[in-house]
Amino acid sequence: MTETPLSDLETPRFLDAGEAALVVEFGATVDPAVNDRVLELDAALRARTPEGVVETVPTYRSLMIHYDPLALDRSALVEAVKGLSRDDASERAPGRAWIVPCCYDPAFGEDLIEVADKVGVTPEEVMALHSGADYRVYMYGFAPGFAYLGGLPQTLGLPRRPTPRPPHPEGALMIGGGLAAVASFPMPTGWYVLARTPERLFSARRNPTFLFEAGDTLRFEAVDPETFAELDARAGAGEVVARRAEPQA
């Protein structure tokens, strides 16, 4: 099998996932530059969607294009993708920056002390490290509104748990395997829960239903339990409680 060099971002690999899905792969690693190419292609395809494309799914390093092969030939789809230029993606909203409130109180950050012990710093330092970083939303997956984030400080780069912990609550901010995540639905998890946000990543009754887009940047801001309760009530009523960060001067 011939290998196209994965390091060459200008030459994506076209991989078939059956006859109704095409993977356009720009790399094999978690890398903002690779993810940028994925999101550019996604934006370009959404701006100029060939007839027969059903939906596109951006991931860390590739774009999956689901298509109807009775309406669109594989070869025509590949040509259409190759024919797209960066100009077609120019209308993509630049990644937005958000400040997301969260509470690290032990009642919310259920695994904070365990993480502090494991990485050899104080709980306060874990909190400072976690809330001091900028995170990139790479992709969603796993469950509706479950966002995978890159940008976790290396000190917090724990492997995931060998066996899952009991279900985390809705809105859990988690770390594991060198990544961070914001979880939507409560589920058993191999990740560590550091905090909880009152923001809803997913709400079927709110417009927008899903708050963040891949390519957005998040920063977490610690709030006390009283503020959490107030924001949680507002978010539950359909309000967006994360706020847009001021543009950098």
Binding site: G18, E19, A21, Y60, H66, G141, P144
Partner: protein
Amino acid sequence: MTTARLKILSGAGATLQDAGRHGYMRYGVTPAGPMDPLAFATANRALGNDLGATAVEVSVGGLSVAAETPLDVAIAGGGFRIEHDGRTLPSNVALTLKADSVLTLKAGSDGAWGYLAVGGRIDVAPTLGSAATHTRSGFGGLDGRALRAGDALAVEDARASVGEPAAMIVPWLGRRPDRIRVVLGPQADAFASDEIEAFLDEGWTVTARGDRMACFLKGRPLRHAAGHDIVSDGIAMGAIQVPGDGLPIVLMADRQPTGGYPKIATVIGADLGRLAQVQAGGGVRFAAVSIDEAVAARRAERDALAPAIRLEPVVRTAFSSEFLLGLNLIDGVTA
């Protein structure tokens, strides 16, 4: 406009499904939809419904329903043993339910998923544009859950025009899982070529662990060429992922839209239902085909469903050959 009510008397694992929840995989939303898309579309086609209309998916747990007023139904797929009003019916059948007379579907010796379409429109509030039930995220169907005894489905624009039971002449559902066709990839290069040959040449057994999310296979474990963790990418229905233990998992309707294990191959659209219908303990083998062959098989399915489905009255004496074909004799159902 007539509204009918279809009462659910029992039905472990039965769910409402439509053609699936599309357009939200980018946000982590599972599409759901039918396990056997061809059987699902066939049941709807038999009643002249939209091919993606909401229908009841029946599992090996079976189903028992009754309508308060006469109502057309069509059942396709899964080789279920069907009884209504004291009669045993062929497993692919259309009929008008008699008022307050129970219709039961029991799993046969072969097949796992059946579809009960109704003449009319099952009225449920959609989630993100679809009525497809995904119980793990609580989307679709009735409150995001499987159907249960005591539920009553409202059927708008209800029809009662089919009359006496009629066998559906649907030879395309008389499929055997001899060789499930796959397109290799997207990560076939994560396996040495002799491991790909082993995947195709050796038989696999479907385990009892399967559900709407995945079909788990047992056999000689496959070895990865370079590790079993990849950076997550998209997952199509029918993707065959191979985790660290080397045992393939075929991801089906309730799959997550992304995942991090290498996918050695993908089951072609036309064979998704054939695989889904294999009961626990059954064997499967895979055969690699080209994209062109996969598309041709898909086109043949579409063409089969283009004309109206032929219905033949269920009679107890003069059996025509087509009638016998419609009976699905494999299951030993002989009316």
